[in-house]
Symmetry: none
Subunit: 210 residues, 4 copies
């Protein structure tokens, strides 16, 4: 029994090692330029072993999302105190999302690639669905805040899921827009945080009861 447990633990460890190495390499080079060789070397495992734990390069790449989601969820649960008002919760959520984006901007690349399409065909549908489900969890959490706001009487009776998707889309759209840096500043000095706050100011004004 002890042996079985240890084996299972070792397996988890290997998986974690590979993911850590993959993160380093993918985030440094990008999906296209990263190579399995480099990941194998960095993880101090053989290339063959990589394929024992992940079906393909693409699936390994997407597996990093898991980690991202977990990280984000953890950050959220620490900060979203139930004593806060709905508006405060919305603002807090946005801020945590922003903080997460600042700390791990590369997870967004994965997300973008996931939606982009080139990847979609190279990953098994089951795996793909798994990724989606996790994203949905996050969205449900946001929806519950909006429901709470409506319940409290602070928010108008908006369509909660539509509103959730809008908020999510806005935040992502802003982060995406701000990714482009350096060559040409059409942001005119605005950064993610400022834009996000401005968007919330207006959006909340539009949601809140008179």
């Amino acid at each position: 029994m002890g042996i079985v447990e240890r084996k299972a633990k070792e397996k988890q460890q290997r998986r974690a090692d590979i993911l850590r190495a993959a993160k380093d390499v993918f985030f440094k080079k990008g999906l296209m330029s990263a190579t399995m060789d480099e990941i194998a070397e960095k993880s101090e495992l053989s290339k063959g072993t990589l394929y024992l734990y992940f079906k393909s390069k693409e699936e390994l790449y997407l597996s990093l999302l898991d980690e991202g989601d977990r990280l984000f969820m953890a950050m959220m649960q620490k900060e979203l105190l139930p004593t806060l008002s709905a508006e405060e919760l919305i603002r807090k959520t946005a801020f945590v999302y922003y903080k997460f984006y600042r700390q791990h901007p590369d997870y967004f690349n994965i997300m973008f690639f996931l939606h982009h399409g080139d990847l979609e065909e190279k990953v098994s549908p089951e795996f793909y669905k798994t990724c989606m489900c996790q994203a949905e969890e996050t969205l449900k959490m946001i929806e519950s805040i909006i429901q709470k706001g409506i319940g409290e009487g602070t928010f108008r009776e908006v369509d909660t899921w539509k509103t959730t998707l809008n908020l999510w889309a806005t935040a992502n759209g802003i982060f995406f827009l701000c990714k482009e840096k350096g060559h040409h500043d059409f942001l005119k000095g605005n950064n993610e945080q400022q834009l996000l706050e401005h968007a919330l100011d207006i959006y909340l004004k539009g949601i809140k009861k008179k």
Copy 2:
């Protein structure tokens, strides 16, 4: 003289031929999976000729943006009548953008790749900047609508550029979110148009004076 003109015309034609073929192939396979061989075959030109007109695969890919921008601008100018109110113009713009997105959803992939970064390193900075400038033109048009709304006294005195970027980010974020289809419906039946309208309803309520 006639001869020079005809040559110039032929050259334009070739360029157009290549772009058309490139669009077909890139939009079917994606940047990564598309091959220059296939584009050459589809354009009924030799591979060498492709490189006579475009420096690299990446530059050819981005060159499709040009066309997209032109298309969008043309659609806009046809629909945005100056007699409309600011709110109507905003809604119209969103609708035109939506229509454009429906007709040419693949142009968004290019945009996503452009912002994503892997491409940034493979294209000359000048060319990159050109792409960015064209995007800015569109944004300026939207800003002018907001300014008009403020001038008319319909909108509150919001930061016009921030608001512009927010609207833009929201639309893109929504389209981006909705791109994911088929495998798992976290949209719960909502489509781009519905989400966009819902977002505008709320956002405009937040902007408009009392």
Copy 3:
């Protein structure tokens, strides 16, 4: 242990296989016209494997020099008996070099390319230096013969290194001259051996005391 040894042996074997195939192809077609595909086919290994053992086409080409140097050194050590006089040793060396040249005239092509320069830029400096050092070993051996001749009192007190380089240059110059064959006989019936002997006759007369 046995397993490790066998693996190492197999690796050596592969390397040898590649070198043999490379020799065939390079010597038949020349550096420029030879292709890695052909070498792969001839070695009955995949192209990828070639690159597992050699960094580039150029490095593979130069690696043949190693073999040439070893071959030459082996021939020398068999023939240069220490009982011979300095003059006999010089003549013997020249004769061995000539024999080597006759048996492996293609190694000279590599040497020519090595000095020619186009290659210099395509090979890592370390590798390049290694090639050079091996050539120097041969030269040192010749110098020691001249020093011996001076010590014996047979040769005048000439500059030993200059003399070494001169002898070497002369032999190479002759071989190089004679390479040109077939199209036009400006050699007027002279061959490498005759020219080399004639050169030695005169050169040794110029070196020997009185």
Copy 4:
């Protein structure tokens, strides 16, 4: 008639323009890396025109030898005064050859390539023979000096053609040896001139009557 002459002159001019441009490019990049495009651009002629004057890239390359030979011959005739003794003439010839080599080291690359073989197959035999004949002219001139030395009674009755070839081979061998520079100094500070002088000292001592 005047028209015919002018046309002929223009043709010569074009040819010269191409050769000049070819020299620039070939000597800067080497045979392998130089491109016909660059030569066309530098000569301010179209690529097609290049092929009107030269059959192929290789033939254009070798055509530069002509010019080299002419240059060398001209230098020789200016310096080789008939009043000089045979020994002085030999030394003078060597010095002129050295000067030529210093001023136009790149012509040697062509010569080396010519003999190397890759080129031999890509050029028509007639053209190849022409190149060889010109080299022979130079050798005949050297032979005549040796004959003069024998006639004067200064030199022993050596085989004049063998001796000629030996001298030529020695000089070329030395220049070739010295081409390798930079990475590893097995020359130990010796340069072409010093080696050439040392070789002549010894060789002439071996030729001269007692």
